[in-house]
């Protein structure tokens, strides 16, 4: 129950940050892909630089979870087609719908009911991937 409340609280923090910094805005995504604003690059860039220092520090200090478990930082297997082709498909959808898998839910919370269509599309895309994944190069 305590963990439920903690994750819920961190999620609320995430939803507020996403909304207040306009990451959930279709317009901001369009502007980003036209390279006409620093806003989105500044957000991702500063999050990555701070995240990088933080992860290095956590590994060095051996920071554990609140339950005393080691935090796994698992390396991913290197593959070009999987990440490049998958990434391109994702990018096409991100620019069209203007929302990635976090913001589509935050927008729903903001009261934009039409985002249900995007969420259903994303669930369908995930399902179809699961059906045909063994036929795709990974």
């Amino acid at each position: 129950m305590m963990n439920f409340i903690k994750f819920l609280f961190v999620g609320m923090m995430f939803g507020v940050i996403m909304t207040k910094s306009e990451i959930i805005s279709w317009y901001r995504i369009y502007e980003m892909f036209r390279l006409e604003s620093f806003h989105m690059f500044g957000i991702i860039g500063s999050a990555v630089i701070i995240g990088l220092l933080m992860v290095q520090w956590m590994k060095k200090q051996g920071v554990k979870t609140i339950d005393g478990e080691v935090i796994p930082f698992r390396p991913k297997d290197l593959s070009i087609p999987r990440y490049l082709v998958g990434g391109i498909i994702f990018g096409l959808g991100w620019a069209l719908a203007g929302a990635c898998p976090g913001p589509m839910f935050v927008l729903l919370g903001n009261g934009y009911i039409t985002l249900i269509i995007v969420v259903l599309g994303a669930l369908l895309g995930t399902f179809v991937y699961g059906l045909i994944r063994h036929r795709l190069p990974h």
């Binding site: 999050a47 991100w94 898998p101 399902f127």
Partner: protein, 185 residues
């Protein structure tokens, strides 16, 4: 108290996102939103059709609770912290939107040309949104992560695969914006 109503600048949002990731790691989770789409498919019964969905969804429940929080966070922002000013876009972006037939933004988030108004959406708009959503869901699982999982979590852990995925996000996104939008609109 004005700062809470206006849009937050990048140097506030970026560090706060890193802090969100820190909280999730210390709680025993990680920052990766698209994994929830798989969990939701499993809960809906997709495990009957593909092994990919044969997962113990209880192990990922924390992430669904995180998303529930994100929806509530969005709701609270809209109710209590709402910014009534139209979004402050680059004038060049507004001009580019005009050439596609989009009016200058009067709100913060979504163009009515695609998303419709509060009680009406065109057939074309709905079709574009379902296709867009499909590509996001399919691409995220194929690439093994989305913006949060690859661009933030993955790059923070110096993962080369994540760098390739993020390059893919931008190749796809810029192709859509520059090459396909003039055809679609």
């Amino acid at each position: 108290m004005d700062w809470i109503y206006v849009s937050w600048p990048w140097y506030v949002a970026g560090p706060l996102l890193a802090l969100t990731m820190f909280f999730l790691l210390v709680l025993g989770g990680n920052l990766g939103l698209s994994a929830n789409l798989r969990t939701l498919c499993t809960i809906a019964g997709a495990n009957k059709y593909a092994d990919f969905f044969k997962i113990d969804y209880k192990a990922y429940r924390w992430n669904l609770i995180f998303v529930l929080g994100a929806i509530i966070g969005g709701f609270l922002s809209a109710q209590l912290l709402s910014n009534t000013q139209p979004i402050d876009l680059n004038p060049d972006t507004i001009e580019a939107l005009a050439t596609l037939g989009f009016s200058a933004p009067t709100t913060n988030h979504l163009p009515p040309e695609i998303f419709g108004s509060s009680n009406f959406i065109s057939f074309k708009g709905a079709l574009l949104l379902i296709v867009g959503g499909f590509l996001v869901g399919f691409g995220a699982r194929y690439a093994g992560g989305c913006t949060s999982g690859h661009a933030i979590s993955g790059l923070s852990n110096l993962q080369i695969p994540s760098l390739i995925a993020v390059a893919g996000f931008f190749i796809g996104g810029m192709s859509m914006t520059h090459l396909l939008f003039p055809i679609l609109f």
